[in-house]
């Protein structure tokens, strides 16, 4: 079996936003074109499947800036799937959590249920939208758009069931850890948290 997984190394992340732009270009291009035609306000409200937040800490000159990344965690126990009344949210045999836009009625139960804020209503597609791990690229032997473009290789993608994969090594060594493990969701996105401190 394959269990797709992603590790995000926040030490490597330089906060450039290439992942965010790549995701939009790859997965939400038509929607972005529409928002562009509607103007700056529509763009300001444009939803993203993955985003990067910046945190500023400390007082001059002992300061630090951290970046955090949010993206669908592709949980082993996805609460979004269990609350979905129509079966639109589902998990593939490869462990990727997807939304069938034909079945989605936009009730947003899943948006409420997701502890990670990874889902949103896409008013252009008229369905809930979220990260798919770029499964269309992965099936074609490519990396997800965000992983492939990341200038510093901060995002690593691979098979958790393959002990030789980089993601497996990072996870089994304990370097990469899940977010909100107390939720029992068993995410397949793992983070390496910043260790660099002045």
């Amino acid at each position: 079996m394959v269990r797709y997984s992603m590790v995000i190394d926040l030490n490597r992340c330089i906060g450039c936003g290439a992942c965010v732009a790549a995701c939009i270009a790859e997965n939400r291009r038509e929607q972005a074109m529409r928002a562009i035609s509607e103007g700056l306000t529509a763009l300001e409200n444009f939803k993203k499947r993955t985003y990067v937040n910046t945190y500023i800490q400390g007082t001059f000159p002992n300061v630090s800036v951290y970046y955090t990344h949010m993206i669908c965690q592709h949980c082993e126990n996805p609460p979004c799937v269990s609350v979905c009344p129509t079966g639109a949210s589902y998990k593939t045999p490869d462990g990727v959590v997807l939304v069938d836009s034909q079945k989605c009625i936009g009730c947003e139960y899943c948006v409420q249920a997701c502890p990670y804020g990874a889902r949103f209503w896409d008013e252009y597609k008229r369905s809930i939208d979220k990260c798919t791990f770029c499964i269309h690229r992965v099936s074609a032997g490519q990396e997800p758009a965000c992983v492939s473009t990341c200038p510093t290789n901060a995002r690593v993608f691979g098979d958790l069931d393959d002990p030789a994969s980089e993601v497996s090594k990072l996870v089994s060594s304990g370097a990469a850890v899940p977010l909100k493990s107390e939720e029992g969701t068993k995410p397949k996105v793992f983070y390496i948290f910043p260790i660099r401190k002045r």
């Binding site: 290439a18 035609s37 001059f60 989605c104 369905s127 200038p151």
Partner: protein, 836 residues
């Protein structure tokens, strides 16, 4: 007037179907089952190579095209510049093509009073537009006023099509063309490096991020500018090297650093001099490297003149003291050249350059530097020792720096510090493929305004013609002579010209202004004739050397899609104008172009270029260039690039060149004693700004800000913007956080002034009295005496719909030129801060 494209047109252009009415709440949506997806007839995707132009880093890209539309851009995995990676701007490139704000047809207007606005334009055919340009050019030619035509190019011209612009100007007969905004960009930094290394532009040198173990970064933010060539190499090796970032504000690069040194603006030179002091004092220098790779052993007489021994193969030879033979010999004949001591030669006292350097920096102690930089002496000493003990270590190359009067000497000090630890050519700072085939920049015509003005200002390197600042005097005062017709090639001089208010006034006084651009940016609003250019994704380009990479090769652009609007290639635009001027001009252009491209036999090359262009357009030019270099045009078009020398081959070759004394410096070695600066000294007398070895040279603003009422004004890059060129990119505009568009002011200082986040403040230039409005961002990420703004500089053009706010920085700067390279001294600015 004709409005820009309406939304309906845009939706057609972008290939979107009818509008969807958004259901606003989940409850309502329950009543509206989602529409079935229409299966598109799946056409196979095409992959077309190109070079990204969202910034000057020239990343190699692959463009995915489907059904005649660009669907995605990927980094080209074969590209040695960016190693398959691209940044947010590169990813957003496709949205540029379909941006409804683009210039879509030639525009003409008759009323110069409407300059500065987007009013009064009428759409015209290309034929009419070319005629309008040509008739003014003809008029000036017939009246003997052709020198009144002047041309300014922005970075797209600099990087790619400068030879074409130059040939255009030469053909028309004006000496006033500058397609390389060196004075506003890189030249002071490049010249500083080149005084030691022979080369120094950002395309010519590269920090060896893959192997370096200790890296000091000054006046630079490579994770914020994200020139991917540097950002990707430095980023994937984070943790492998100690990173020391010297910057008055906590930049994106500082965020990843081990040490942030918030230095007083403009004083990096003092910091570097103290590091040199420590490395020498502690005996941590690489004497072997200095003997073999540099002219550190060269003997210098008491009067400061080097002991030269004629020239061989165009290189200046000189004497060293050979300790093995106990006598002076030419460097290459010495067994063990002395670095230290004093020797007697025909009754004259002589010393090696290294001895002079040692004596020179004796006074530049960490304590001395602390008093200037505000960096504690203990910090400087410990960094100096770590730097000296770690191999390989380097001070980063930098990229842009026309910031201070001492910029040239600052980068010279960086080069010398690198040389001390063996961090040049073999390790630390490498020479790129583009650097390996570089020639010194040529002199421009003595009749050019740039050169006459620069000379008058006392700029030592005025002959290189980078001092575009001079055109202001020419327009406003007819000094040295009047200029009346301006061609702007992708330059936003209304925002980037020092003392921008004056540039705006000046542009209103011209007889005719022609703008060639993709967007109606602020400067374009001052034009009478607007010629819309195709974007990089819509065009085939000539052949270019691969820039920035540690490899030698060539690359090109292949049009991914046909122009979406009625736009043309830069080359087609100037050829269109020349055809209107007559056959004579058109024919001569090809000869001038062949010359500008460096052809050995310009007439023969001109015939080939003309013929190929007439048959195949710009693609034809590329084919001629490729065949002249024995490159396979088919491979170029399918892969976008051909690499001739990989990084290890190139490194070995450059090491051999340095050891053989064949670098581009006058002596062919790394010059710890600069012959170029010594020549300036001979002409102009001694000033520390051109000390042939190294010296402390003050910035103008030193000690002028108190951090209470007065502040040093600084600017820098953010990763989602490329100075003023991306402000109207719809996606990038909203991906750039608002706080990065605000004026950063130290939190404590802001509190004492009663300024809160989001408050409107006024920045008032002490020098010219101009004030601009900014939004305050009180933060701990900046020094108390410093204001920082991002270099997209805000836009006010009414024709742009995706711009957000920013700080129009250059309203606050003054027209200046540094005394060596003629740089604009863009951070020699003190401002007062007031609540608006």
């Amino acid at each position: 007037m004709n409005t820009p494209l309406s939304r309906r047109d845009f939706i057609k252009a972008a290939g979107l179907a009818g509008l969807t009415v958004a259901a606003s709440s989940p409850t309502l949506r329950l009543l509206r089952p989602s529409q079935p997806q229409t299966e598109l007839q799946a056409e196979q995707e095409k992959i077309v190579p190109n070079i990204c132009m969202m910034c000057p880093a020239a990343c190699q890209i692959l463009v995915r095209v489907k059904d005649g539309k660009i669907v995605k851009i990927e980094g080209n995995p074969k590209g040695p510049t960016n190693l398959g990676k691209i940044c947010a701007r590169g990813q957003a490139g496709l949205f540029r093509v379909y941006n409804p704000d683009r210039l879509k047809k030639p525009l003409l207007r008759d009323n110069p009073a409407q300059r500065g606005t987007f009013q009064g334009f009428r759409e015209a055919s290309w034929d009419q537009a070319f005629e309008a340009v040509a008739s003014q050019v003809k008029k000036l030619i017939s009246e003997g006023r052709v020198k009144e035509i002047f041309m300014l190019g922005g970075w797209p011209t600099c990087l790619y099509l400068e030879p074409y612009m130059k040939a255009f100007a030469d053909t028309i007969g004006t000496p006033n063309a500058i397609g390389i905004p060196g004075g506003a960009c890189y030249f002071p930094k490049a010249f500083g490096w080149s005084t030691a290394l022979g080369v120094g532009a950002h395309s010519q040198i590269l920090t060896d991020y893959e192997n370096v173990k200790y890296l000091i970064v000054i006046r630079r933010n490579f994770f914020g500018s994200l020139s991917v060539v540097h950002g990707t190499r430095a980023g994937r090796k984070l943790g492998n090297y100690k990173l020391v970032v010297v910057d008055p504000r906590f930049s994106e690069t500082a965020a990843k650093a081990d040490v942030w040194i918030p230095i007083k603006p403009g004083t990096d030179l003092a910091f570097l001099l103290a590091l040199i002091h420590v490395v020498i004092k502690e005996g941590l220098y690489d004497a072997e490297f200095l003997r073999k790779f540099t002219n550190a052993p060269m003997l210098v007489a008491e009067d400061g003149s080097p002991l030269t021994a004629g020239t061989e193969g165009g290189k200046t030879k000189y004497l060293v003291w050979d300790l093995a033979q106990g006598k002076p010999v030419k460097h290459e004949e010495a067994i063990l050249p002395a670095l230290e001591g004093e020797y007697n030669l025909d009754g004259k006292k002589v010393k090696p350059v290294f001895q002079l350097l040692k004596e020179k920096v004796e006074a530049y102690t960490p304590e001395w530097a602390e008093s200037i930089t505000g960096v504690p002496a203990a910090t400087i000493r410990s960094i100096g020792i770590e730097f000296g003990k770690t191999r390989p270590a380097a001070v980063d190359t930098g990229w842009h720096d026309p910031k201070y009067k001492n910029s040239v000497m600052t980068w010279r000090a960086a080069a010398i510090l690198n040389a001390l630890v063996g961090g040049l050519v073999k390790d630390g700072i490498l020479i790129t493929g583009a650097g390996s085939i570089a020639a010194p920049p040529p002199d421009v015509s003595e009749e050019s305004v740039m050169r006459i003005w620069g000379t008058k200002q006392g700029v030592a390197m005025a002959s290189k013609g980078f001092t575009f600042q001079g055109f202001l005097d020419a327009i406003l005062n007819g000094d040295p002579y009047k200029v009346s017709m301006l061609f702007m090639f992708s330059t936003n001089i209304a925002l980037t010209g020092p003392d921008a208010t004056k540039w705006r006034e000046a542009m209103k006084k011209l007889e005719k202004v022609v703008a060639i651009d993709i967007y109606p940016v602020d400067a374009v609003l001052y034009a009478d004739i607007v010629l819309p250019e195709s974007t990089f994704l819509e065009r085939d380009d000539p052949l270019y050397a691969i820039a920035y990479a540690p490899a030698l090769g060539f690359q090109t652009r292949v049009a991914a899609v046909q122009p979406v609007y009625d736009t043309k290639h830069f080359v087609d635009i100037i050829v269109g104008i020349l055809r209107k001027l007559g056959d004579d001009y058109y024919t001569r252009f090809w000869v001038n172009l062949a010359k500008a491209l460096g052809a050995a036999d310009p007439n023969a090359m001109a015939a080939k270029l003309k013929d190929a262009y007439e048959k195949n357009g710009v693609r034809g030019i590329r084919a001629v260039q490729a065949s002249a270099r024995n490159l396979d045009p088919a491979k170029l078009e399918s892969e976008g690039l051909i690499v001739l020398k990989d990084s290890s081959t190139l490194r070995k070759e450059m090491i051999n060149k340095a050891l053989a004394g064949q670098l581009l410096t006058p002596t062919g070695r790394i010059e710890i004693f600069s012959f170029a600066l010594n020549n300036i000294k001979a002409k102009k007398g001694y000033q520390p700004y051109w000390d042939p070895i190294v010296a402390w040279a003050e910035p103008e603003v030193l000690g002028k800000a108190d951090g209470r009422q007065t502040f040093y004004l600084t600017y820098g890059r953010v990763p989602t913007m490329t100075h003023t060129s991306t402000a109207d990119e719809p996606l990038l505009s909203v991906l750039t956080p608002d706080y990065k568009r605000m004026a950063w002011i130290n939190r404590k200082v802001a509190e004492s002034l009663g300024i809160k986040k989001g408050d409107k403040i006024k920045l008032v230039s002490i020098a010219n009295g101009v004030s601009v409005e900014a939004v305050a961002f009180p933060t701990d990420l900046v020094r108390e005496d410093t204001i920082w703004v991002s270099s997209d500089f805000g836009h006010t053009s009414e024709a742009l719909h995706y711009t957000k706010f920013g700080v129009p920085y250059h309203f606050l700067t003054s027209v200046k030129a540094d005394p060596v390279a003629g740089g604009v001294m863009s951070q020699e600015v003190i401002v007062k801060v007031e609540k608006a």
